[in-house]
């Protein structure tokens, strides 16, 4: 009779393991998928698990009709996915397909080979989780799932069910533990290839928060609600003080009276910049979170960047959309003179929507008529903000009518976008070329990792005016109305935005500890992003360089050969480790007897592997008669413990063997 293992039916233990493992891996997906998909999965799972108990028929190879019903159901699910996602290609519909596939496969699983197929599916599902998030908690959870999946392999190969749940997990854990060093070697040395290998279908925009390429009242203040990270900065040398950190983003030229937008012609052509450097540059690197935009941020003014190009208005634009975490290095010049050589730009910097902001225009005219020069006009505007009753607030009243007029003369309450836009309008009305700059201001220092975090709530808008002798000059009207915003950051200027942020100025020990914990966790995340998630081909090369392996060259062949050599060495080591012939018995009596045999071996009477305790005693008795009595006592005690299961003798055995000193007995003179 042929016993084909692969055709062996699965038993219920194996099924439960599989069910647990698959369900755990699908759990994080369940919140992302449309509701009916996880529900469908669980129904299929329940059918499979409860069916045998309640004697429901299962759609396996015997039940043809049910099998057809199942296929039709699967087809409906496929249509359902199409309905939910309007496609079946791409990350999200692909994951939905896999989840349902797992459910159907579980339903029709009955043989050993179905088990293995499902476990492989499970590992694929683990990977799909990583397409959504690669944070440390998710990684740890998936590690747990991997442990369970590995233990599932053990389950299906443990034919006599000798392993308890705990032991299976222990063995799986041990295997994974041994696998980790090998994994690290592969991770560091395996040659990395730049993806992508094929064109990926663009997934629907998942609505990333952040600065956009237009600005209107309210667009910056809405970012205040977000606790999300915008980017992280690490300085090579001494960094500037946080209050002087202006991170330049989109430069907005044109307005329709309410909304500001960029000058697209400047982004397309390369323009000649007259940039005068004065003093030293600051070098730093930035790791930016995905923005779905085509620009990068840099400290004013950026002159060199490893990614992207610098435009005529000193923006850093990049061809590929930033839809994943990107790291780039930059150099900026904090002290500079930027002159405008293109007269058309200066004209654009005076653009105003005709017929709008009459009161603002009137005010500007008033200043002109007072024969104030440009500098004085700028000062007048700033004084207007600081001396009159202007407030810096997150929830200004809705502007009715003309946005600028209403703000300057009616509500006088606003956020940085109001101040910046109205300031620029005032300047343009007075004939001074000006433009709006959006980006971020300030940063939070993490002492544990020695880097700065810039959050979405640090988003800011400011202005630049053009003076003949000075070039483009930054003017931040927010500083006039709320100096705390610039000097101390948004959390201190508007504490109401984040009631959960503890800003306890009495710096108690508890607060310092908590903050240190948070900084440490953040620093760990930073290193995680850098080394695990961001281990690009370039990073690999830099790292190998640092290890001093530069001289071996970087082509495929060398790296592969080196990898092979290291792996072989490790495998040999593991071989020696795992294939040791001795097995430590769990039996204490046996271990004690072994200790006794070692003592005997030291005096020259070695017990043969095939000699039983009594036979050994006989031989000792004939060879070393002096020891006969002591050995007899030990042997009888051992036999009683081991073979007659007389556990009380165990302590006596221990005593006897510990006090047994054959060497001294032999040299003792017979009395």
């Amino acid at each position: 009779m042929k016993m084909n293992q692969a055709a062996r039916r699965l038993n219920s233990i194996e099924l439960y393991w599989l069910a647990v493992a698959m369900s755990l891996v699908i759990l994080p997906h369940a919140v992302r998928l449309p509701g009916w998909i996880p529900v469908m999965y669980f129904l299929l799972l329940l059918w499979r698990l409860i069916g045998p108990v309640l004697n429901w028929p299962l759609p396996n190879r015997e039940q043809k009709l049910l099998h057809w019903c199942q296929n039709i159901l699967a087809l409906f699910c496929l249509l359902g996915i199409y309905a939910s996602y309007h496609s079946i290609v791409g990350r999200d519909p692909g994951v939905a397909l896999l989840v349902l596939l797992s459910g159907f496969k579980l339903l029709e699983s009955e043989l050993e080979r179905d088990f293995y197929i499902l476990v492989c599916l499970g590992y694929i599902m683990v990977t799909t989780n990583f397409l959504y998030t690669q944070s440390i908690p998710v990684a740890l959870f998936m590690a747990l799932v991997t442990l369970i999946l590995t233990a599932s392999f053990i389950t299906v190969n443990d034919h006599n069910k000798k392993f308890s749940i705990k032991n299976k997990l222990k063995l799986a854990g041990l295997i994974l533990l041994y696998a980790i060093p090998l994994m690290l070697v592969l991770f560091v040395f395996f040659p990395r290839i730049s993806g992508p290998l094929w064109r990926m279908p663009q997934d629907a925009n998942t609505g990333k928060t952040g600065i956009s390429d237009t600005m209107s009242p309210g667009s910056i203040s809405q970012l205040l609600q977000s606790d999300e990270l915008a980017f992280r900065v690490q300085f090579t040398d001494t960094p500037p003080p946080a209050s002087q950190m202006y991170w330049r983003g989109p430069v907005l030229w044109f307005t329709d009276g309410r909304q500001w937008r960029r000058n697209l012609s400047l982004l397309k052509t390369k323009q000649k910049i007259n940039f005068q450097k004065e003093g030293k540059t600051t070098a730093y690197n930035i790791t930016i979170e995905p923005t779905d935009q085509h620009w990068l941020y840099g400290l004013e003014m950026a002159i060199k960047s490893t990614r992207g190009d610098i435009t005529g208005d000193m923006q850093i634009i990049i061809k590929d959309k930033i839809n994943h975490r990107v790291r780039y290095e930059m150099e900026s010049m904090p002290v500079y003179k930027l002159f405008e050589k293109v007269p058309e730009n200066l004209e654009n910097a005076l653009q105003l929507e005709p017929g709008m902001h009459p009161k603002t225009l009137a005010l500007a005219q008033q200043w002109r008529q007072q024969n104030l020069d440009n500098r004085q006009i700028i000062d007048s505007a700033l004084t207007l903000f600081s001396d009159e009753e202007f407030y810096y607030t997150l929830q200004p009243p809705l502007l009715r009518g003309d946005a600028v007029d209403d703000f300057l003369f009616q509500s006088k309450r606003g956020f940085c976008e109001h101040y910046a836009s109205s300031f620029v309008v005032l300047m343009r009305a007075a004939g001074i070329p000006a433009r709006v700059i959006t980006g971020y201001q300030g940063a939070s220092y993490n002492p544990v990792g020695d880097y700065y975090n810039v959050y979405q709530r640090d988003a800011h808008a400011w202005a630049e005016v053009y003076l003949e002798e000075k070039g483009w000059l930054r003017v931040d009207p927010t500083a006039a109305v709320s100096p705390e915003r610039i000097l101390e950051g948004i959390e201190n200027a508007l504490p109401e935005i984040a009631p959960n942020l503890i800003f306890n100025t009495d710096s108690s020990l508890a607060y310092a500890l908590l903050q240190n914990l948070r900084d440490s966790w953040d620093a760990i995340n930073y290193q995680w992003n850098l080394w695990v998630l961001g281990y690009s081909p370039k990073r690999q090369m830099d790292f190998l360089n640092k290890l001093g392996l530069a001289k071996f060259g970087y082509d495929w062949q060398t790296l592969t050969v080196g990898l092979f050599v290291i792996l072989s060495t490790m495998m040999v080591l593991f071989g020696l480790l795992l294939l040791r012939p001795n097995g430590k018995s769990n039996d204490p009596a046996r271990n004690l007897y072994d200790a006794f045999c070692k003592k005997m071996a030291r005096i020259g009477v070695e017990r043969h592997a095939y000699e039983g305790p009594m036979d050994f005693y006989q031989r000792v008795g004939s060879e070393k008669t002096i020891l006969k009595k002591a050995v007899l006592e030990i042997t009888e005690c051992y036999v009683a413990v081991r073979y007659a299961s007389d556990q009380e003798q165990l302590t006596r055995l221990k005593q006897l063997i510990h006090s047994f000193k054959p060497g001294s007995l032999l040299t003792k003179k017979p009395s």
């Binding site: 084909n4 980790i180 095939y610």
Partner: protein
Amino acid sequence: MSESIVLERHFKMEFVRKGKALSRRRVYILPTRYGLLFGFMLCAIFLGAVNYNNGLAYVLTFLLCSVTLIGMFHAYRNMAGLIITPGQAEPVFAGELAYFPVFFDNRDQPARYSIMLNCVPKTLGWFKPGAIEGKTTIIDLETDAFHNIPLPKQSHHRGVLNYGRLQITTTFPLGLFRAWSNIDINENCVIYPAARGQLALPQETQGEEEEQAGNQEGNDDFMGLRRYRPGDSSRHLDWKAYAREKGLHRKQFQGFGSRRLMLRWQHLEHLNSTEEILSQLCQWILIAESNHFFYGLELLDDFIAVDQGEEHQKRCLATLACFGLQMP
């Protein structure tokens, strides 16, 4: 179980047991079909990692890759170092399952699990599920174990059954690799002919010794004790005396004289085939022994004198089994 069994065969070991030279058998390892499936899955995940530049997918790929390597080691270790000693098989009747006891010595070694034992044709080197004869025995050996496992093999006709080749296989722990080894078990099991036939026992042959009372050993009245002779049926031993540490003795009974028979080939020459004759003779021997008769066997070339007892029965049956066959 006596401690003087000679260790005969074992697998490839790094360190040979002290003092004893043991012959070795190789352990082979190959991926199973599930291992190949796993490999394909790894490739898929790897491609995903490269394409999406996903650090954790890389981690998973490399981790699972390493896990397969470690699993390979475990499968090998599950086999390597095991010491196998074949034992002697007890005879059975044709058509029954013969059991070949094999000693598995796992002393001083780590535990082994899910070791599959199969009988395969002697020409088979690889693992082929279709080539397995009979059922698979799956055993586990804990640390320091020393077990006797009876391996079944179906007997079909009388004679001598050689076990053939034992293929020891394991896929523990992950099922991705299969480690196996082949051992030729040269043990022979005597297969008695199946006891068949309805003919009555022949008449007594030594008539003049009938009806002699006295010291004939029968089984009616208790007569006394004599010292134990090897081969005495355990039903006739005086156990109580033994428990009192008076030694092992056989009870003797006095009867009216048991029957004494000579089972001859000539009695059955009228039957159609040799096998029928042998089967009938076998049946007679069993009946005679169960009735405590004295019987002897006379075939063409063999002559076994009249006697009684298990040893005698075995000898007779073995003669029947090997009748006319070339003995290995």
